[in-house]
């Protein structure tokens, strides 16, 4: 890679890494794994830099790589998520805002991965239906139905979560 391309890549990585890690975290619920997946996606971007940069689709490339890797991970038994009734490592006396966060995370972790990815892409990353469909590799109709189901599931779970303990029943 030429020096000017490396500089451009470096600037892009510095700008995009925090928000891409947040997107990955919302999809997997683990900051460390989110960081690993973002780095893997950025390595792929480096290896395809000229082609992707020419198409002006850097964010889309990284998000697509992330989303597909995180959804695919569900198919691997050793990486499959193990939903827990209680979020681990929670301090005993935490302020209300922390309880809210843990409750949302606990509920989000129980939304099926593909529905969760759709919710994150559409509501957090502000992607439209067509873009979301391209990134996940499904039809626009599927994105719409997964959005509706994901929202319903999230609301259902939040209604059953105990704000004081961040516990959610199966619903």
């Amino acid at each position: 890679m030429r020096a000017d391309a490396v500089e451009e890549f470096t600037a892009y990585v510095a700008a995009c890494s925090p928000r891409m890690r947040r997107t990955a975290f919302l999809m997997c619920g683990d900051w460390q794994r989110a960081e690993d997946e973002v780095q893997t996606a950025l390595v792929k971007l480096y290896l395809s830099w000229d082609r992707v940069r020419a198409r002006r689709s850097l964010d889309s490339f990284v998000r697509t790589t992330l989303v597909r890797a995180l959804i695919d991970a569900q198919r691997r038994p050793w990486r499959r998520e193990q939903p827990r009734a209680v979020v681990p490592d929670r301090a005993a006396a935490e302020p209300m805002a922390v309880e809210d966060r843990l409750t949302v995370r606990a509920a989000l972790a129980r939304v099926p991965p593909r529905q969760r990815a759709v919710l994150v892409l559409r509501f957090y990353d502000d992607c439209d239906v067509a873009e979301t469909a391209r990134m996940i590799g499904c039809s626009e109709g599927t994105v719409k139905s997964q959005t509706a189901r994901g929202l319903a599931r999230l609301r259902e779970l939040l209604a059953t979560c105990e704000p004081s303990s961040a516990e959610c029943s199966e619903g």
Binding site: M1, A3, S17, F25, L42, Y46, L47, V98, D100, Y124
Partner: protein, 211 residues
């Protein structure tokens, strides 16, 4: 119940600091590219071996090819090992150098070396044998020839690699492995014949061997 966007934003409150930066990604990517190249090379070597075997079996092959010196090529540098035991190192100033790769490749070619990024290790006083070990080429400023046979016992070549605001710099010197210190800045003034410096600003490369 709060809206979905608020909920998602709540979930990422208090995120930990990022544990990597762009340089880490570049190093990982260069390793990945190198691995792919090596695997592709193995495939080609397999094909070549198969072809050679077929030619031998048909009696078409005469004398075995003479042993050729090895070449290690990465995007950041090329290291050519010659039959007389010397090696030529060419640094690509347009690509970030991966210190550990260069260090292990030099050692693999029988050149005891320590490669550091953002630091330069040197012995004081500097070793007079450096000019016999490393020689520059005026016609090709990013290239240096290394003669490991001229290295006294107990010495190593020290390479310090620095990123500049508009390029990069690699400085080489000879150190005594039992007595050296490391500094986080590239040396500016050195005794004659003590260091070899390759400075690259994009495509423009300059090389200076003091002395």
């Amino acid at each position: 119940m709060p809206d979905v966007i608020t909920m998602l934003r709540t979930a990422i409150d208090e995120e930990p600091p990022l544990g990597f930066d762009a340089a880490d990604v570049v190093v990982r990517a260069q390793k990945a590219r190198r691995r792919h190249t090596a695997i592709a090379g193995l495939g080609l070597a397999g094909v070549a071996a198969g072809t050679a075997l077929a030619l031998t079996l048909t009696g078409a092959l005469g004398a075995a090819p003479a042993g050729s010196a090895g070449t290690i090529q990465t995007t950041a540098f090329t290291l050519v090992e010659h039959a007389d035991g010397t090696a030529t190192l060419t640094i690509n100033p347009s690509v970030l150098l991966e210190p550990r790769t260069l260090q292990s490749d030099l050692r693999q070619d029988g050149i005891p070396a320590m490669v550091t990024a953002g630091r330069f290790c040197s012995s004081h006083p500097s070793l007079a044998d450096f000019n016999q070990v490393v020689t520059g080429q005026k016609s090709s400023p990013d290239t240096m020839t290394i003669n490991p046979a001229a290295m006294p016992p107990g010495t190593e070549l020290s390479f310090g690699y620095f990123r500049l605001s508009s390029g990069q710099e690699t400085v080489a010197t000879l150190i005594n492995t039992n007595s050296y210190t490391c500094d986080s800045t590239a040396p500016i003034v050195w005794p004659p014949g003590a260091v070899h410096r390759v400075v690259g600003h994009g495509e423009i490369v300059t090389s200076i061997t003091t002395g």
